[in-house]
Amino acid sequence: MSSTSNLQRVLSAGHFAVTGEVGPPTGADAQALKAKADILRGCCDAYNVTDNQTAVVRMSSIAASAILLAEGLEPVMQMVCRDRNRIAIQSDILGAAALGIRNCLCLSGDHQSFGAAGKLHGHPGAKNVYDIDSVQLLSIIRDLRDKSLQQGGDSVTVAPDMLIGAAWTPLGDPIDFRVIRLAKKVAAGAQFIQTQSIFEVSRFAEQMKLVRNEGLHEKVAILAGIIVPKSAGMLRYMNKNVAGVTVPDELIERMDQASDRKEEGLKVTVELIEQVKAIEGVRGVHIQAIEAEHLIPEIVKRADLLPRPASGEAS
């Protein structure tokens, strides 16, 4: 168990956790991160730092996490299995822990053929690694931390202090397997879960019922993923192209009709947060405002989730 993760403290104290997302810049631009940090400081318990999301090269999640940390924000460093084998991953985990990074979200990673959904070139010709998958990554970090053992069996001198989490696509296909998939991640050591973005709250609630039937909600802190809608077009795109995400027609219609899209997007977001909060077993939200991080403070405020428990106070 991690002893010094703020996210861990917030969850242990029974608070409804709030995490946000910070996409690292596509350059060696520490200033861009610091500017985002200034906007976001104090409105979330921890901030996800994506790891070359959609297989587009950005500043490394470790470096970006370290910069956020220096700015006083707690990072959730994402780590994908696409680009590193188990040697590099364990090395990076030790390095990240030594830098003071206390949360890691373990992901398979978007396939390199994505390249930001065709908007950028990306590197579709890259060789992927996938030495291990996200479930195995969880167990590897858990064993480094709890047993001081590397996957190969060698010991580590100082174990990395790291809260480990995973992603979950509750409404993805094949739907019959999704709760089992979650159970596998919990068995591998996941302590928190950030879900794929939820728009169909009632279907998500049904999946959460199955989660509770297996008692998984007591073993892992589930943070529901919330994406801030920017326009009807964005919702249509997600509905069509993002696996495991279905956006109800009424919601698309509502964004379409809105005279002030930004305001409507904020309202929708706050409503979604309130709806998922009411589901038993949901212990927080993970808010993503893609290319619009500045909206997060306002959302958190309107959802009545401020002030966040201060670091140290939550325990």
Partner: protein, 222 residues
């Protein structure tokens, strides 16, 4: 079987402009089955090369031959006279055949005329699919005969990622999600719960990652 695919004729022709006697050599086994390098494809390739070379102003002779296999010393020997008579060989065999031809006829240049793509089978006329990654440690029974190493885009070991939609993989709408197939098959067998057990990190030393591999059968080794 080994599945290969024809190369662009120009890519081959560009490498042949300085030769006068060219031999297009087919292989009558795997690559003939997948219609990339058998006798028929030798004739097509040779005809196309003659035209491509003529358009490049080259006066080359392009001969044709097909070996039963280009990966067996005895069968390579059967086409040795034609190979010896040529300045260069365009081999339509898989990469194994091309390599063996080099070993036998060094320093004669042997140019690959097909791309070797995967180990697979013919699903239906005109469609071949990858089925095995030759990882060296087969556990395909655990996933009901559907290999996630060969058939999942990320070679995931513990179930599908979030990118599975309606049974298809998000990287290609034509591509079946291997884990969807595995789950459906195990469900039909009432064995879905067997997937609850986590598969630990794999030992890839048996695969290509462990270095080039060799197989020895002691009792017949000489």
């Amino acid at each position: 079987m080994i599945v290969a695919q024809a190369k662009d004729i120009n890519e081959i022709a560009d490498k042949l402009t300085n030769y006068e006697k060219i031999l297009v050599a087919g292989c009558a086994t795997c690559v003939a089955e997948c219609m990339a390098g058998g006798e028929k494809e030798v004739a097509i390739t040779a005809s196309a090369l003659r035209m491509a070379l003529r358009l490049r102003g080259c006066q080359a002779q392009v001969a044709e031959v097909t070996a039963d296999r280009q990966c067996e010393w005895e069968l390579i020997e059967e086409i040795a006279p034609q190979v010896e008579a040529a300045d260069v060989v365009v081999s339509l065999a898989c990469g194994v055949g091309v390599a063996c031809m080099w070993d036998r006829f060094e320093p004669k240049p042997i140019i690959p005329g097909v791309n070797t793509v995967f180990l697979g089978h013919r699903e239906k006329p005109g469609l071949w699919l990858e089925r095995c990654a030759a990882c060296g440690d087969c556990t395909i029974d655990r996933t009901a005969g559907i290999c996630p190493i060969a058939r999942c885009a990320k070679s995931l070991q513990n179930g599908p990622c979030g990118g599975s939609t309606d049974g298809k993989c998000e990287i290609d709408p034509e591509l079946d999600c291997a884990w969807h197939l595995i789950i459906e098959r195990l469900k039909a067998m009432n064995q879905l719960d067997t997937l609850r057990e986590n598969t630990p990190p794999r030992d890839w030393s048996t695969s290509r990652d462990g270095g080039p591999r060799r197989v020895v059968v002691e009792d017949v080794e000489e």
